[in-house]
């Protein structure tokens, strides 16, 4: 396996020479095996026990009452993963991915955060540290900063945030882009030039403007290329075409952002790493079971991931997508048919480059004694162990950088083995 070789290499004298000598896969722009990584943040705390029900756990049905997902085979039952776990019935694409060995399901996983504030929890999920507000930068950005520059990436930007602003996970020393659909007309060149001049002594605004223009040109080219390539295909993939159609259509909440993500990642000189948010997972009341509020959200997410695979086409083969949330929810249903803030949750790693078809979990069980502080699914799998593995084996981030700058003081957290295909 490629990853093992690199670790052997690293363990030798080359370590002393520093990471600049390492050849990163990401540096070989122009070859067709450049890795892509997408990180999707589910903000609001996903209920892992509904998304990935441990249907055979003897305490599951009792704790979950009316929101419990039934065992596989029953009406509205889980999609079977193994003898213990299933997927929520809304997750049809994830189920196909699992069968196709392109999905790893993590369970009882958590970041190092052990309190129950969304905002601190998201801060830790993004800052890659042991506690909230430890630093003002994110682990993805620090990982990009640890990579050798990509000669082909325009302006050296390896990362892009799909949104108007850059979330913490993507902030830091490495230049990154942000993009969101615009429904406003572009400026004429003369006015734009004058604004550029006006910003020349303002380091922040001049940087932002340059980033926006560069990203926009990648987006435009990607759109043109997609239109040309798919001219005979069904409606030209409509890449970014929705810029002209501001109305957000129902049923596919992430469609526009997914189309954009795919077009950026497919572009020859575009970014390699993309981040976006999916909101609305804070299900304190009337959460629903196989149908209802959360089921609808999961179906939207599942459809979005399917679209991402379709849009990426052959590039899917080189893609790893991590879907994670800040923490889980209480093991028991609360007094309002929902769940309150908890600790461990489920997460998904999928893509053509994922060595999938597996559930990775050290299942702690849901008995009263096993619950964390008597109420939450106990964390037994460190999210950083999975993220380090992806960054090392897929993006070829050096181990020393992972242990020190990307996830500070994390040498004791060993990367999981073999998550990504050789």
């Amino acid at each position: 396996m490629r990853a093992i070789k690199r670790r052997e290499f690293l363990s030798g004298a080359a370590l002393a020479a520093g990471s600049v000598l390492l050849t990163s896969k990401i540096a070989f722009a122009g070859s067709d095996t450049r890795p892509r990584f997408v990180f999707i943040i589910l903000r609001g705390a996903l209920d892992g026990l509904t998304a990935v029900p441990p249907y055979a756990d003897p305490n599951y049905a009792r704790l979950r009452g009316e929101v419990a997902i039934a065992a596989p085979g029953a009406s509205g039952g889980a999609l079977k993963l193994d003898g213990l776990f299933g997927l929520h019935p809304s997750l049809a694409f994830l189920n196909e991915s699992f069968t196709g060995k392109e999905l790893i399901v993590f369970h009882a996983m958590a970041s190092p955060y052990r309190e129950r504030s969304h905002f601190d929890g998201q801060d830790v999920l993004e800052n890659g540290c042991a506690r909230a507000h430890a630093v003002q930068t994110g682990w993805i950005n620090r990982a990009l900063a640890a990579l050798p520059p990509d000669r082909n990436a325009r302006r050296g930007e390896l990362g892009i945030a799909l949104g108007q602003n850059v979330p913490l996970v993507m902030r830091g020393p490495a230049p990154v882009a942000s993009w969101s659909p615009s429904h406003l007309a572009a400026l004429d060149e003369d006015t734009l030039q004058r604004i550029t001049d006006l910003y020349s002594t303002d380091p922040i605004l001049s940087q932002r403007l340059a980033d926006a223009l560069s990203t926009q040109s990648v987006a435009d080219e990607a759109k043109d290329a997609a239109m040309a390539a798919d001219a005979q295909e069904n409606p030209p993939a409509q890449l970014l075409a929705s810029r002209a159609q501001p109305e957000v259509r129902g049923g596919a909440p992430y469609k526009e952002v997914i189309h954009a993500t795919a077009s950026f990642l497919k572009s020859d000189d575009g970014p390699r790493v993309a981040v976006f948010d999916a909101m609305g997972w804070d299900t304190h009341a009337n959460e629903g079971g196989s149908q209802g509020q959360l089921a609808g959200r999961l179906a939207g997410l599942d459809a979005g991931l399917r679209t991402l695979k379709e849009d990426l086409g052959p590039v899917w083969r080189d893609t790893v997508v991590m879907v994670a949330t800040e923490f889980g929810r209480t093991a028991a249903v609360n007094g309002t048919r929902g769940t309150d803030h908890g600790t461990a949750a489920a997460a998904f790693l999928l893509g053509g480059a994922v060595y999938g078809g597996r559930v990775i979990a050290d299942w702690p069980g849901l008995s009263a004694r096993a619950l964390y502080q008597g109420r939450d699914l106990a964390p037994t799998l460190n999210m950083h162990a999975a993220l380090k593995a992806v960054l090392a084996d897929h993006l070829a981030v050096a181990t020393r950088a992972l242990d020190t700058s990307v996830f500070p003081d994390s040498a004791g957290v060993k990367p999981l083995q073999g998550l990504v295909r050789a």
Binding site: E115, R116, Q136, N165, S178, S180, I195, R208, A285, G335
Partner: protein
């Protein structure tokens, strides 16, 4: 940090950072007394929003409850079969024009007020006690929440603000407290006796967010046990007219304490035992929370971040916290301490405008007629800050990095250009610029506007100037 000795610069800071952006003539009125101009705005009752179309939350909510009941009845084909579910208005249809009226009234006030400091403080507190219109239950109530729970207390005491917010149906619905029931309450026991399938219990959402986001702050020293017991304390803080089992008493749509839902007995919160009966237990906890030093520090930090800098100096925060503690949360005292801080006057344009700040200051500066107010909410949504919809109980963030992303800046420029193209030919940006930016205008901005190729380009350049992107 030294305060500026230049009164003209202080005026620009007052109008732009403390106000909502200068309307032509405003800087002249501020003149040489920036602090005095702000302090004068604190005198008298806080202004209320005008508009006979604005309805009380109880009125709106009771109509929504009625609609839900009718739809349910029609679907179930009840006794009165003459109503068809399809003919009954959906709650979203009821709320949409209400949301439009509320946002219009709010923008209209922002465009015309001569007490812009009070308006900004109102937004600050609405954002502190955040409810979000992206939750349908709140969509039609967010505007009345601000009018009923925030505005009357903006120049009052923090404790009253906290109590009003916690009791407001919009907050109870947003953070799911209206159906939170004590496990040993009369309601739960009755259900047990009747072998009901539904298990009653608490929902800890509101209790947690009051501690974390509205009073002590996340580092304020509370534990999970405090969250749980505080949630028990406020069981029964609910809304009249909501049917829950056979309980439908009370005035529909109004705050109502429901004793049947309340967890009986004493509770320990933050080391203190509360033995009060019923609603008084929650009032006692909220009053104590408002007086905790951690609350003073948390509020002081947020105010300093909003009015001084993203990372405000510790000394300034401490002075605000002391004013808060020493006055037991008397807000005008805190505001006067704020405008007395030298740190507020050290540097112009220390804060990056949010999209809302940016839009309102543009429209004020251009003296856009308030008849345009009903269109402004579209601009807010386009630039990423839909009115009344921060999307989370933490409210909108308040640091530059949360707003100055490349895509966000580009959208702002495109919006400015669209406005420039539309009305720039009838405006003279060279005359407006000193009226907006005063002594804080840079030579580069002045030159750029002077050399513009057209009136519309000149206005675009003024609207996109680095000084105008900030406050």
């Amino acid at each position: 940090m030294q305060a500026t000795n230049d009164p003209a610069l202080a005026a620009a800071i007052a109008a732009n950072r403390f106000g909502l952006g200068a309307r032509p003539g405003e800087l002249a009125r501020v003149a040489s007394d920036a602090r005095g101009w702000l302090a004068a705005q604190l005198v008298g009752a806080a202004p209320r929003l005008q508009g006979k179309e604005l309805r009380d939350s109880a009125d709106i909510l009771s109509q929504a409850l009625e609609l839900r009941r009718e739809r349910r009845q029609a679907r179930n084909g009840g006794a009165e079969q003459n109503t068809d579910a399809a003919t009954v208005m959906k709650v979203g249809q009821l709320y949409k024009p209400i949301y439009a009226d509320e946002t219009t009234a709010r923008v209209r006030a922002a465009l015309t007020t001569d007490r812009p400091f009070i308006e900004r403080l109102t937004y600050f507190w609405t954002n502190h006690f955040a409810v979000s219109a992206d939750k349908q239950a709140v969509f039609g109530l967010a505007g009345s929440f601000e009018r009923e729970a925030i505005r009357p207390h903006v120049l009052g005491n923090f404790t009253d603000l906290l109590l009003a917010s916690t009791r407001h149906p919009a907050m109870l619905l947003y953070l799911d407290n209206q159906t939170s029931v004590g496990a040993n309450s009369m309601l739960a026991r009755r259900a047990e006796r009747h072998a009901s399938e539904h298990r009653f219990g608490i929902n800890e959402n509101l209790a947690r967010e009051i501690l974390e986001l509205q009073t002590l702050g996340v580092a304020g020293g509370y534990t999970q046990a405090d969250v749980t017991s505080f949630a028990q304390v406020i069981t029964g803080w609910s809304i009249g007219g909501q049917s829950l089992g056979h309980l439908t008493a009370g005035v529909p749509g109004q705050f109502m304490f429901r004793p049947e839902m309340h967890e009986p007995g004493g509770q320990v919160v933050l080391g203190k035992r509360y033995t009060e009966d019923g609603e008084e237990q929650g009032v006692a906890v909220l009053r104590d929370l408002a007086r905790r030093p951690a609350t003073a520090n948390f509020i002081a930090t947020k105010l300093a971040r909003h009015f001084i800098a993203d990372e405000p100096p510790a000394a300034a925060v401490e002075q605000l916290a002391r004013a808060f503690r020493d006055s037991s949360g008397d807000l005008p005292t805190v505001y006067r301490a704020l405008i007395g801080l030298k740190e507020c006057w050290a540097q112009a344009f220390a804060k990056f405008k949010t999209p809302g700040d940016y839009i309102i200051s543009s429209l004020r500066g251009l003296q856009i007629p308030d008849s345009y107010a009903n269109k402004a909410r579209i601009s807010f949504a386009l630039l990423g800050q839909r009115i009344f919809a921060p999307g989370s109980p933490a409210g909108w963030p308040d640091r530059s990095a949360d707003w100055d992303g490349a895509s966000a800046v580009m959208k702002r420029i495109e919006w400015a250009d669209a406005l420039g193209q539309k009305i720039g030919a009838h405006q003279d940006a060279a005359i407006l610029a000193p009226q907006w930016l005063g002594a804080a205008m840079s030579a580069a901005t002045h030159t750029s506007i002077a050399r513009a190729a057209s009136g519309s380009q000149a206005l675009t350049l003024l609207l996109t100037a680095p000084e105008f992107m900030r406050r």
